[in-house]
Symmetry: C2
Amino acid sequence: MGENRKIYAALLGAGTVGSGVYKLAGMQEEDIFLKTGAHLEIKKILVRNSGKVREGIPQELFTDSWQEILEDPEIQIVIEVMGGIEPARTYVEEAMKAGKQVVTANKDLLAEYGDPLFEVATENKCDLQFEAAVAGAIPIIRPLRQSLAGSQLTEIMGIVNGTTNYILTKMSEEGMGYQEALDMATRLGYAEADPTADVEGYDAGRKIAIMASIAFSSRVTFPQVYTEGITKITAEDIRYAKEFGYVIKLLGITKLTGKGIEVKVHPTLIPDSHPLATVRDSFNAVFVHGQACDDAMFMGRGAGQMPTASAVLGDVIDVMRNIIHGSCGKIGSDSHKKLPVLDVEDTKSRFFLRLQVENRAGALANIAGVLGNNDVSIAQMVQKRSHDGIAEIVVITDLVKERHFNDAIRIMEGMSVVREISGIIRVY
Amino acid sequence: MGENRKIYAALLGAGTVGSGVYKLAGMQEEDIFLKTGAHLEIKKILVRNSGKVREGIPQELFTDSWQEILEDPEIQIVIEVMGGIEPARTYVEEAMKAGKQVVTANKDLLAEYGDPLFEVATENKCDLQFEAAVAGAIPIIRPLRQSLAGSQLTEIMGIVNGTTNYILTKMSEEGMGYQEALDMATRLGYAEADPTADVEGYDAGRKIAIMASIAFSSRVTFPQVYTEGITKITAEDIRYAKEFGYVIKLLGITKLTGKGIEVKVHPTLIPDSHPLATVRDSFNAVFVHGQACDDAMFMGRGAGQMPTASAVLGDVIDVMRNIIHGSCGKIGSDSHKKLPVLDVEDTKSRFFLRLQVENRAGALANIAGVLGNNDVSIAQMVQKRSHDGIAEIVVITDLVKERHFNDAIRIMEGMSVVREISGIIRVY
């Protein structure tokens, strides 16, 4: 291979990430050549409006025709950074069927259509790389697929949504309420105009589905993930958490058990000494436990133009090396096994429960009785304070089946002594 | 490739790591097949005494003859976990020249002979993989070579020696003196009988040399690394650090500057809010900064039988995939550039300086004057206390050239007003 070997790529999308990738590919031009032995040239960029001027990108690169890219035999790599399911899914599939390698940052796509897309990749011996789809610039996909492949992984816990971590940090450190913190995140551009996917845990759910699939070699899709967001977390919850030595984080959690895979997203009380507790603001972090590798944690920028572009370009460099060595499609599908995903009701959690009850003889015993009758054993139970005849009770349970805990809650909801169930948060 | 495809490997060494790799390869047998499409079989194990019985390993695998392994055409992977320079270097080189792929956990070897060994690897289109050589089970080599390859990395800081981190943690959290903490580390097996390589920073120096080479694409060897160990750190230093909001960690630090590469190992005061400050006991962590990826941190087990075996086996799995796809030697040498490594005297640091001076008029001004005359600007200077006519002065400098600071110290050593220079520690 000479000085002039070139590998051509097309970008699908010229939004924040797309223009970041274009810019970074220019900045790193010489380094890419030194690392791979070939020059990378972005030959075409697919956009909806090819007439629109975008600063720093030559006009002649834009096209609104996918066919033009698909049918260009020189283009060997398709970099999909348009997001959403369609038309991204069709383009990615058609690209691979045409023998092109694909790098994508699209978590929605992978979390729902990972399996069929990997089948197409395997059939066509194509690379389908997606480091940027989970936790932005943090290398997590490649470590899971390669570096940690020698260890049986048993658990992954991640702060994989920067928006909610920012909101919870503000609530915790500055005493803001949920709405105030959300408004601030929106003003600063951390939250989108419609923050649903972030605050309801859907975004984190897609990422944990992707990580679970790789870690346990068995496909987990987004609809299989139990998700609970942060919209019900109050300043009061945060205050109580602190008092007990905990911080509240929105975690994506997946575990390999003898019966199948547990996979859920929910606010979680974690001890303030846990490494994940120190991950603040919009930072992301993923905590991995494996039988041989023990505990490992990866922290970094989970979003943002250049961090995401960096992850995309790392994949592109790997694909270029694969093209040069004729080794595309080396890793292939991650889902060799067909493990069941457990119903959340069949998984176990510890719970923090806050109740307002009538302050009369036997009330505490009543609550304890209902929990006990439903196989919910109590780790800690305190009566916090009482006024106007109402006492506040805080319970932390042992690890219990979610079904049993929910049964107990339903019974409590019908008890006249219980005035309000003020908060239920899972505990790590 | 059928159900029965086998890839044969040989282990060089059956010590702690070697027997861990053998055990883990057995435990992960089915997973390795699912991930690669081939079975891994450890066919031979090179040991000094092939008659010695080692629990859990069949006697017939042992051989004391390197030639037997080298000349066995079935053996495609050589896993070198014997450590030390010779005969490891010769074996690794001969293995690659015979077309075998190499996985090694040998940091000494790579930190001194990385360049010639990678040349042999490139010439013979061989894999030479070494994830386990730096920070044990923490995936750091592959992220640096691949995931973060899209970003210009500018700085790496790592706690990459578990022994010294354990000692410093005990000193900091339990008020132990250096010797007491070292004795405890020795009793627990964290420190070797001769702890020199750990406590003098040589072990960390080898690891930072390897990481610098990859991150900056330019070979850095261990002799080029400035090393300063932790043997002079006192309980007093730790106490002062706390008072100023710092913790003391032994860091390997490397930076890319316009003039070349800075690379050093020394005790460092880091703010207690920094992510590295929370890395306790024998854990390791590596903090990376890059232009596009921003800050990222990797934490985990830096040593131990199974964590190290996990990293080795991750590499073996990657090599197996490369063998199957005919893509060995895909990444090759990391040192495309020939950047100079700066003399430590030409690098810049912030310093914490603790002095005992005669408590007389003008003493403080004298000290400040010497610093100022040598271009050492002062960020903070306090007189801590005085008794028996001796005052203790603590100075924290701005970022200054090490040469200038050393000049100032040499002058102070000759000043009658200065009774003792009690501590000099760099500050992040």
